[in-house]
Amino acid sequence: AQSVSQHNHHVILSEAASLELGCNYSYGGTVNLFWYVQYPGQHLQLLLKYFSGDPLVKGIKGFEAEFIKSKFSFNLRKPSVQWSDTAEYFCAGDFNGDKLIFGTGTRLQVFP
């Protein structure tokens, strides 16, 4: 069955540190991949998406992600985090065109 896994459940960083959150998926076919963010008390918002083409995709607020097909991975990165990046981050995959399967999420805390 198709699935998305996030192995970092809780990440704590200081401001200006670099960030990388892991995301792996399980599926042998074509997949579209997404990262969503949920700020405290808010609903989910799209950060970035990968459909095809350049495996390095850039999103809002300085985030980027790299699709590595051989590793079934789509890790999220940011070179320098800010306190305002404190949120929960969800990786998601679309495996058949009509619904998203989400990972379990990674809670990021950034301290000043």
Binding site: H43, K49, F90, D98
Partner: protein, 115 residues
Amino acid sequence: DAGITQSPRHKVTETGTPVTLRCHQTENHRYMYWYRQDPGHGLRLIHYSYGVKDTDKGEVSDGYSVSRSKTEDFLLTLESATSSQTSVYFCATTGGGPSNTGELFFGEGSRLTVL
């Protein structure tokens, strides 16, 4: 923000009672989804709809039913609520399916507590 409204936003109920959550959208989006969010589980898809009267099951559909009689409304019903259904429920919509638009628009969530 997309015009997605969930009601009620908060509800406390007792085990065995029926509960209906409503999702209303003003975007004329074709696809609508119900997810539940639980600590350690992320978001799990309950049911979704790809058109009026067209629905399908998600990962965790047992104990839930849905109905979509018109484009703008998608109802989630718990026929007999159990404590395991205590959760935050999110409705989401998209115009052409995740592959076409790449973005789901989420409602504010409905927090349900089953005692």
